[in-house]
Symmetry: none
Subunit: 196 residues, 2 copies
Amino acid sequence: MTESTKDAEYLGLLQNYYAAWHSLPSYNRLCEVLGLASRSAVSKVLNRLREAGFLDRTPDAMWVPTAHFFERSLAAFHVPAGTPDHAGEAGVEAFAVDAYLIPKPSHTTLVPVKGDSMIDAGIFSGDIAVVEQRVAAQAGDIVVAIVDNEFTIKTLDMERGKYLLRPANPAYPVIRPRGQLELFGVVVGLIRKYRS
Amino acid sequence: MTESTKDAEYLGLLQNYYAAWHSLPSYNRLCEVLGLASRSAVSKVLNRLREAGFLDRTPDAMWVPTAHFFERSLAAFHVPAGTPDHAGEAGVEAFAVDAYLIPKPSHTTLVPVKGDSMIDAGIFSGDIAVVEQRVAAQAGDIVVAIVDNEFTIKTLDMERGKYLLRPANPAYPVIRPRGQLELFGVVVGLIRKYRS
DNA sequence: TCGCTAAGTGAACATTTGTTCTCTAGCAAT
DNA sequence: ATTGCTAGAGAACAAATGTTCACTTAGCGA
């Protein structure tokens, strides 16, 4: 059961539509989106995509995307090294962004980054930090801490048995908490979006 | 115009349903999900949520969640001691990450980054670049280009009408393509994962 | 060339959809 | 109490839904 080229194209169109609207359209709309003239053809396409594992149905028979639907192609080559052989573009594998970045959704929060105190660590203002909430961390972890009632992102370090928060920017001072260090969570990932 | 407590509850139920199925149910199903007996009540709830900015409709009048729908306030979490002023910034719910980063799934590839030639731009070895494949780009864009049969990620710039590729690391030279510059795509996002 | 298969068309169908209307119950303010 | 207001119930409706059927077309191998 080879994945048909045409169906892959249909899947791409569906993914684009879903990315724009966060929802799958009705059959009538699908005719336009997929470039088909009849709803019965749409029905067949959807059933094929379900058999391929990209779609599923709710108990109410509504079409919904599966985890496979959200997988993206991950280029096998590295940048800049590597041998492109880009004609084939072979060796792309599936990659689910959400599952990769957020293994524990219930304990994870996305925190917008403000300020440039971690600029040398490649964390810029406007980035979004993926924060796993927990109370314990190790020296070397990048953490979200609460200092003077404000959230701040810094590298956690230890000096003579006491924790301190180290910025990654020489223009900022090291923070040595007076009492207990209040930890919001550990930064486990980073998201950045370019352009608007 | 106060945000009703009941509506907030309805919104939560909707968010739960959406988290489970990645789709909004039909009115009949919504009656069960929201605990209402009549579809007209459902209609009113949805319209209220639209006015509050959590829902919208496609041109085909289908209900879809808006960006607000996916937002989750930091304040919703228990923060140990104190009320940090997080300046009204809000987190985004986990499953929206994918849609946030990848507006055009079918033209997007994820490319692992190797090397430190873009380190000053906050792009490190091991990061994953979100690359939108296209042939045109503007000066200032970070692009994935093909130079000497190798993929490379650099900032695109123009000098005297000719394109050149500028690294974000003084240790690397500017690349001035001899002939035509071959573009693989434009970097529209970045993903980084800390620790394993 | 002949068939075979799969993909797409177009019409018909009973259901279901979402909307609109009127009506009732609860709540708040006076 | 009475008045107003809103949330929700319930019925009625035209319109749209998704499925099924028989039919056409295109591609492929023998």
